[in-house]
Symmetry: D2
């Protein structure tokens, strides 16, 4: 009930505050007898690491993951896999000035209202640092998905007003080679230029991520409430700063007619178009699943802001510390991790029907 678990059969339960001793989790339901590629897992973690670009926070963390159980002689043994990443560079003192303050558009006030107590050392569970556990869970999922020839991939398709709408100009190999995780060289340069301006102003900016899941067999997802798209929407909206989700024809459907959007079948049970986004009636049909996730600019900016404290006094806040001017490029592995965990969970859930 605490909101810290994701998945039904493949299940991640995460723990850890951004400035507590450690971040980690327990993975249940990972298939037994699978060789674990530790380097791949650490690599996925490195993809979300701070300090990866000029535009992201300078908090120094090695973020080295350690495993405490569930693995023996390099293989999963079916029991819960516990992992932990110790917070090496946490400086709670940095946050003393926040002890009684409520930052605009942060979770300070809401956590205090919920629990009657507040961990004022940074964002606690509301910090993006929590997503570390998701990436570990996602990396494990990808190990199985690879065996099943399922591929999850994504790129930043918009930052501010710079959009990448032409899906034909996608260069997937380029995504991990540029600091904004664009899939197009020219657009990446424009985005980087924009981010420099934003950073100079001490401000932050929004953006969006396009993600696709290829190779999903038909039959995954559950009717009615646990539709594939419903769980996918939940997975994405659970990521900090996400404000919107669409899949398949998405918000473009509003102005379209049924005769325009319906996906005609081919004789091999592929469809001529894929406005359905690979999902019909909540269940995968074997076509690519694709969706888009909207991120707001992060709330922490390096400008003076008016705010209030616990005692209802007006205060002026100026953020210190280490923060991103645009969180979207670093969110790419997180979006993938959530999509990967969900797909694996649905794969396992479908096993009981076979």
């Amino acid at each position: 009930m605490s909101g810290s678990s994701f998945g039904k059969i493949f299940k991640l339960t995460s723990f850890g505050e951004s400035h507590g001793p450690a971040i980690g989790g327990i993975i249940e339901g990972f298939p037994p007898n699978i060789s674990i590629d530790f380097e791949f897992i650490q690599n996925e973690l490195n993809r979300r690491k701070t300090g990866f670009t000029n535009f992201s926070s300078s908090r120094k963390e090695n973020d080295k993951v350690q495993f405490l159980s569930g693995i023996f002689e390099g293989k999963s043994i079916g029991t819960p896999i516990a992992f932990v990443v110790f917070n090496e560079d946490h400086k709670p003192k940095d946050y003393d000035f926040l002890k009684n303050a409520y930052r605009p558009s942060h979770a300070d006030f809401t956590y205090e209202k919920k629990y009657g107590i507040r961990d004022y050392r940074g964002g606690g569970r509301a910090s993006a640092r929590e997503t570390l556990s998701r990436v570990v869970g996602g990396a494990f999922s990808k190990i199985i998905l690879k065996k099943e020839n399922i591929l999850v991939r994504s790129y930043v398709d918009q930052i501010g007003h710079i959009k990448h709408t032409n899906k034909e100009s996608l260069d997937w190999d380029f995504v991990e080679q540029n600091s904004v995780r664009s899939s197009n060289q020219e657009i990446s340069k424009e985005m980087e230029k924009l981010l420099l301006v934003i950073k100079k102003n001490g401000d932050t900016i929004g953006g969006s991520i396009y993600c696709e899941i290829l190779g999903v067999p038909a039959g995954l997802g559950e009717p009615v409430f646990d539709k594939f798209q419903a769980e996918l929407a939940k997975a994405m909206l659970s990521i900090p700063s996400v404000k919107g989700f669409e899949y398949g024809s998405g918000f473009n459907s509003l102005e379209k007619r049924g005769s325009e959007l319906n996906d005609e079948w081919n004789a091999d049970f592929t469809t001529k178009t894929n406005n359905s986004g690979g999902i019909q009636g909540g269940i995968s049909n074997g076509m690519p699943i694709y969706f888009r996730v909207a991120f707001k600019p992060v709330a922490t900016i390096f400008k003076d802001q008016n705010s209030v404290d616990k005692n209802r006094n007006a205060i002026i806040l100026k953020s210190k510390g280490r923060h991103d001017s645009c969180v979207v490029p670093r969110a790419v592995p997180i979006v993938e991790a959530m999509a990967a965990m969900l797909t694996l969970d649905f794969l396992l859930r479908q096993k009981v029907n076979l």
Copy 2:
């Protein structure tokens, strides 16, 4: 695991195929000792009924709900509340032509792939008729929310290209007085005009619904995976035909800067703006929660469509039967029902922290 349950403490488990004997469900976790307003519940059901406008399906159903347990002398007694709506007007024969056919953008193929068997009488669980159970669950929820001074309300803010973007021209009282559930008289007329054209063409069209939840106390929603917006997104994307969801500043956030979107606090812990959509860090802050849901046009159209059957033969399909040309107005009570059930569930989940 079957995907037929919604909620953790307040929980609806639904059952029923569109052309089976009945639709219904079991409600668990409804607070005990509450007077049940049966007329209100039946009224909510009537709001989603077929035949309510020129633009919707002409299937004739009284949709009279019966209660089988959990209520004694007009009051809830704490035990599961089972309810059932018998399908009076189901004509499975209407669907014999579909026995081996896969309709474009329907769930025929995917259900068969999932379960290895198909209920070819209409949409089965994928039919919008399933939403009946949701509306009953929502009506029960609203009974409690009313006591807590929480109000869920919504209207159709777009059909095709006709948009209602000016939030100042909202006339909430008008919503239930027009066939398209617009909240503005002029716009309703344009929408109705558009729908007449669509219907004449045997086509269907998309649209969107704006919904708000007023009076939610601060502190509802859970950290990390079960954030208020995450569960809300899941709730909405579980509704048939929904393709997108946004809350607060939503997709508009992409081009905005942090300094523009941050919501400054007032001394009374309200905020000057509400780009956060009433939720910060996944937890309600006491401001209105608002969101928007995108619907695609329904897949059943009254035009010849190319398709295939099980044996990979090309066929031409022409829908018969009774279907909506625009499902969005009828979806208003469904969107509200899902929002109401979720809000009640979060209210009850928060009780364990107090």
Copy 3:
């Protein structure tokens, strides 16, 4: 959270008060594409019916089960199977005298304390009539277990001081041929004789049931908290009037040494003895699973009893209505139903590891 669901993948959610309109439930996770033997299901229900012997209650119920969903053309289709048994012979008026009374060793007081309201028409959810839903769920489970060559069977091995300890004198075919469900002709006569005395005295008496599950493959059950024996114990203790459970060497283990109880392996991975009761470390080993369930005498007796009412007044209660003098014989199909549902659930849970 309401306590009305059993199972994780194969899951029964039950509803209904003993004197409300109906008893029923929703079965989720039943495998799709299975032919349903309706006669067998009704037969199982008949096994638990009132009026089956001289010694049980004379409430007249046909207990005819109806199916509302999840079955099409005689086969399961993978969606929830809802079923209902209408209460034909409920006479709430019979219970008016109980409106303010608390019967000794009944749930009147505890339900009122729990929910702040009481359904005083008989036992409500605490009545044994609730077990109807369990038997339906068990019957569905047995359909699958039969395909897997798994057999659940049980008999009454003790009523009062009449014990059946000699496992070599078991005549399984005899169990359904005698009113006390003994598996031995002589013992059955003694038990019947005892029950006549008890009935004449307006009293009730306890007893126990021996149950075995044959053909369970090795590997079922989950480590640590959801051990096979742990879930089995829960299943049995959830049956009304059950006060104890033991499996394998059970309470006899207390005075034994490890060297006496350890089960040596044969070369074919059977064991020479089976003190483990077919379960080691919570997981089945392929040997027969067997256990014993202790029932107290039912609380409703036909003698004057001192009691109190809501207002703390002393009252004298004399039961009216229709009740069993010994519930144990009728509990045989209930014990089997619980064991069958659990075994099926574990079978399905194990699928995700394969």
Copy 4:
């Protein structure tokens, strides 16, 4: 689904193999804003420690618990509490001789059948070392129960043939002062004498624990499947080596009549007798809850035993390493921990009805 979680609102998810890097868990649902008595928690852990008597295993472990999250400035903050106990003295090499062997009455064979792979370093998750996490969870629970004036306490009431049946001779203060956790000085001496003989023989012996929960308010426990006694039975049968459970009048009920066992009410809603064991219809009635748990002798004995290996070869096994000759005294804090966690979970579950 992995079987590693206990509880619904207060929830412990445990991890760790006996000879892996660590044992630990995540506690969810612990009430926020509670001062944590770390010394008390460590003390509870020490109560189950090896080496506490002559009769138990000599594995040396400090079993020092560390906390990784959920606590700030000595108080719970509402978020998941992760804890870990590193395995300092694990010597996997000790177990090389077991690589291909199946020990009698151990879980070697069943785990391998379940997961297709085996952690042959000792018992893995089936080892009693796993109960460490339970004791930590129980200690947290007791912190809340103490505030609510609920007391869980237990003692060893039988080892081998030495029984403590006279409840009037209980000296609760004595329990923690003797090596067998008897509550009576004379009986403790007899038990110790018996254990010396058993140990000398390289054998093991069974026993039982009596436990009571005092101060439970009326209204806890859920109807039908999640009855207080059902969850209690599951909790106890999940403990390694447990073979039986009874509560209230238990197995003694078999030979009793209803007129003998019914608990008459007093005018203050206590009962004159307490054969119900504090629970009626699955819900607590405010009287003491009491029960008894039967343990078999542990399977590891220091005698030659015939067994087989993976390749069906006959082998002779002789246990090495460090093991208990009677596990029952050390199980006392484990029984209490399970009872405490369950009671707290039910307390929290009841909050949603209030």
